[in-house]
């Protein structure tokens, strides 16, 4: 699955963006990369930052491994 990966500058510019009840918060994948799903590109709540989101690197999502308890 393809997800969006920001560099440090992009992360700092975009992380925490809010509009009404919506928020963009990058999360870590299994490779310790900050990522966000591509659904944000079609979310009208993020229309004001769509241009910036489209500039993020596309990478393949790596699931976070689950530890044994």
């Amino acid at each position: 699955m393809i997800v969006l990966h920001p560099n440090t500058t992009q992360y700092n510019n975009l992380n925490g963006y809010r509009y009404k009840s919506s928020e963009l918060l990058f999360v870590k994948d299994g490779n310790d990369n900050w990522i966000v799903g591509t659904a944000v590109l079609n979310d009208s709540a993020f229309a004001a930052i769509h241009d910036q989101l489209n500039q993020l690197e596309r990478i393949t999502y790596v699931p976070v491994p689950e530890p044994e308890l």
């Binding site: 699955m1 009404k20 009840s21 919506s22 928020e23 966000v36 591509t38 659904a39 944000v40 976070v64």
Partner: protein, 278 residues
């Protein structure tokens, strides 16, 4: 003779037949002590009023009636006053209306664009989207206590899914048996039975320091010997620390508050009645 009849004032003052006239009356305040405008329960009317103030799209008139009935059913059952947070994602209002906490009149947050489907609710993309209840029992609980608490969700959920629970056993619920399952505890004591219904109210309930119950509608699936120790500080729906629910899981509502074990039948009936009629 007055040109503006203040029905609301009449009700409020109970000055029936007094002959007092009032030239500054609004229909919006009618039945102020009895119900909200439109004849709805005052607490449900407050939800509608909050949504209107925020500019959200309200549910259809017929669904407003159903939602009002849900609130009154929960009150009749003695449930409403025990809840700290209560949200109905499954609505024909817009996605913003679907995120209103009916108890606190605040908004849950849709993080990273979970998918909203009218009259169904939300689902995650499986990689990053979820809903933050913006509810922290460790600092802002009213009814939710260490040994008197519950939380749960429902909709159309696969019974193998990671449903929610960023704080692991302090507030984690999976469809399957797991050492992560629990409520208000740091003890990773696994349960043994999975949920078996995709559409039931699925919840964890604790009214003891020594065990909690895995509930499916009004049925106690399992009593799990897990010692309470700590309140969660966050409830995030559709994800847990190591992953997310599946994209097929449709979350229709979420709730948390005091134990509802004694009200379990009326509570689950009220929720299921709403879900069956939308």
């Amino acid at each position: 003779m007055s040109n503006n009849i203040n029905w609301g004032k009449i009700y409020e003052s109970t000055a029936w037949g007094s002959g007092v006239t009032d030239n500054n009356i609004s229909w919006g305040k009618s039945y102020a002590d009895l119900a909200g405008g439109g004849g709805f329960d005052a607490d449900y009317q407050a939800v509608l009023d909050y949504a209107t103030t925020q500019g959200y799209t309200l549910p259809s008139a017929s669904q407003q009636t159903l939602q009002n009935t849900l609130v009154t059913d929960l009150k009749t059952a003695g449930v409403w006053s025990k809840l700290d947070t209560f949200v109905i994602f499954a609505t024909d209002g817009d996605s913003d209306f679907a995120l209103i906490d009916w108890k606190r009149l605040t908004d849950y947050t849709a993080v990273n664009s979970p998918t909203f489907t009218i009259n169904v609710g939300f689902n995650t993309n499986g990689t990053s989207s979820y809903i933050n209840a913006n509810y922290n029992p460790s600092t802002s609980a009213v009814n939710y206590l260490l040994n008197d608490a519950c939380f749960g969700t429902g909709g159309n959920l696969l019974t193998t899914s990671n449903l929610l629970g960023t704080n692991l056993a302090r507030g984690n619920m999976r469809g399957t048996a797991s050492n992560f399952n629990g409520i208000n505890s740091n003890n990773s004591i696994g349960n043994t039975l999975p949920f078996t219904s995709q559409t039931a109210v699925l919840w964890h309930d604790r009214n003891s320091s020594s065990f909690y119950r895995r509930m499916q509608n009004d049925a106690e699936l399992e009593s799990v010997a897990q010692i309470s120790s700590q309140l969660p500080n966050i409830y995030e729906i559709m994800r847990y620390p190591f992953g997310y629910a599946t994209t097929s899981d449709k979350f229709a509502y979420f709730f948390a508050g005091a134990s509802l074990y004694n009200e379990r039948a009326d509570f689950s009936n009220a929720i299921n009645s709403y879900m069956a009629n939308i």
